[in-house]
Symmetry: C2
Subunit: 394 residues, 2 copies
Amino acid sequence: MYTPAREITARLTSLQGKMAATGTEAAILVQNTDLYYFTGSCQAGHLVVPARGEPVYLVRKSLERARLESPLDSIRQQHAFADVAAVLKEVAPGAKTVGLELDILPYNNYRRYAGLLPDCSLTDVSALIREVRMIKSNYEVRLLKEAAKMAIAMFDRIPGLLEAGKTEATLAGELESVLRSLGHQGAIRMRGFNQELFYGHLMSGENLLYPSFLDSPTGGTGLSPAYPQSAGNKKINRDEPVQVDYVSAYGGYLVDKARIYCIGRLPSLLEKAHQAALAVQADLVQATRPGVLCSELYHRAMTMVKELGYAGNFMGIGGDRTGFIAHGIGLELDELPVMAPKSNIPLQEGMVFALEPKMFFPGYGLVGVENTFLVTAAGVEKLTDYPEDIFYQG
Amino acid sequence: MYTPAREITARLTSLQGKMAATGTEAAILVQNTDLYYFTGSCQAGHLVVPARGEPVYLVRKSLERARLESPLDSIRQQHAFADVAAVLKEVAPGAKTVGLELDILPYNNYRRYAGLLPDCSLTDVSALIREVRMIKSNYEVRLLKEAAKMAIAMFDRIPGLLEAGKTEATLAGELESVLRSLGHQGAIRMRGFNQELFYGHLMSGENLLYPSFLDSPTGGTGLSPAYPQSAGNKKINRDEPVQVDYVSAYGGYLVDKARIYCIGRLPSLLEKAHQAALAVQADLVQATRPGVLCSELYHRAMTMVKELGYAGNFMGIGGDRTGFIAHGIGLELDELPVMAPKSNIPLQEGMVFALEPKMFFPGYGLVGVENTFLVTAAGVEKLTDYPEDIFYQG
């Protein structure tokens, strides 16, 4: 599953165009996911990218593996940290404005680069990187579609595994085992500081309302305050909603999908709210096309939710309510674009986002769906096409 | 599983002692794991700690949950980022030297604190935090012993699940399902930048030699270059070593353990090397006691390995060899102390480390063990006490 050379070239060309446009003469990339995206390998080291010309991938560990995985021409051993300065001088002679991934680079690491490059102005290249990564190529879409197939195969197994009296954590472990057997890498990468997720959120009833630290509409108790989210030791009961909101992964690419299950029957209050969440999704789907601003879609959803009478239930309750209705997704779960009040990014063909209209009810839990969509020339394609009504059994 | 108040008090007192000794007038902690360690909760926000007096836990999300989980007296809503400055002024009036977790805090986040506190000198408090966390209390040791029990219960299941022809990834998924059913939180936290691990490393034969980015003696192919470590699609064959090096977790506390399995028989070369690895472990165990330097133990191991004739096989092959033989472990996998050539930390009662003497053989794989040890007044206690010979079957 090696990334083709033309793919790497196109990504680097896109980044270099943005670098030239912003006066960034060179960039030094080091984060695992960014290295993977721009080289096809995430072996430890640095990718030194000039605004024009060929980049050099300096690899600390393992050079042999990086050479196998990456189609780049210039891949060399990094013997010492100072090699980064020498290579920078070689690929971008006289460069004064050098971009680093300042959104994720720890301060102490930053100080080492500042010490190594005393004559350079170190700027933040992370916004450019995130903009490049925001637009998925046909190659990436193929991997995302494989991840979506994995999601569907896993969700197909839920009715056979869901039982009253089983704990959330037991069901979670069973579904994770299914995902692993389908080729899931296990890990879900997030870029945001302090953001972490283990597969997703699987909760039932009132545990669906249990708040947590994560910038997500749901939290969950988890198994202890040390890792306080998702499935806990709560048993799944009859007549309550069970939400499986899990992330599948193929070749590093993530797809996010949620559905509601129930053993028995949910009150009509929740059934109606579920239909309202689907109506919000349907409305956004028909309004989504290239050129529309993310903030417009956010406000459109909020207006419709208010008209439908669910303003107090949408995307959380009280102070812990989430400030977005959709998030970009790809190699990381928290990519651009974000559909939030001030997100003035116009949608473009090739963007991929997970839209999660969910309605929360104190004392009951939540209903709604999550699907991963691809923005196309004509509108959107639902990658996670799958029945969306509440799955009843027993 | 809430952390007792006396435990939190002791941890904060230890940190405050080190802060006073180094002229750190206040510290602002924000990382999930550090927040959990010092408050008993890792809800998003800041713990503002004066060198003397009571800290304040300012919580952005979720205050309700933080109040339930943390025994601290002063837990308040963080309405805006600027609240951090106001609370700092309140708990440490006139403080000029303020410590941040500069080893993990992203540069852009650092800039926000620098902008908020223009009159303060922002220093790195992470070394002090890591020193406090390095010494485990009796309470923490009890949690570690529960994690060790989980490891033993999981390893007991391996012989029944190991089959020739099964892929590494399939066996990995099955063992992860066992761990989850035993109450494992799933996630394994690491502090180091770009370090990430999903449960551990499970590989067979030559895949045990496949190098990766991780600062670890082993790598593994993984399922794709996007997440290039641990189990891959390689089938497990007869007469080759299978190493299961997995991390169990209880209440956030991690225990690291590895054993070698084989269907059939390993060549006597590997069997002898396995005994040599056990001899190195036994020698270090009898030499380990409070006061001994970590570097002394490292050099002692290297000397013995050389005498035994395994200098070319120990802890990796060629340039990708690991520079340590043991690492501290607790809430994170990469804690202090590290047994490395220049690690002049004297061992102290309450330290916990994972010692992993392993011998690598081109064309074959590796043999050896990993165990998690607690430093006691008398020497060490092996938390992962379990048979150590190669587990043969079939």
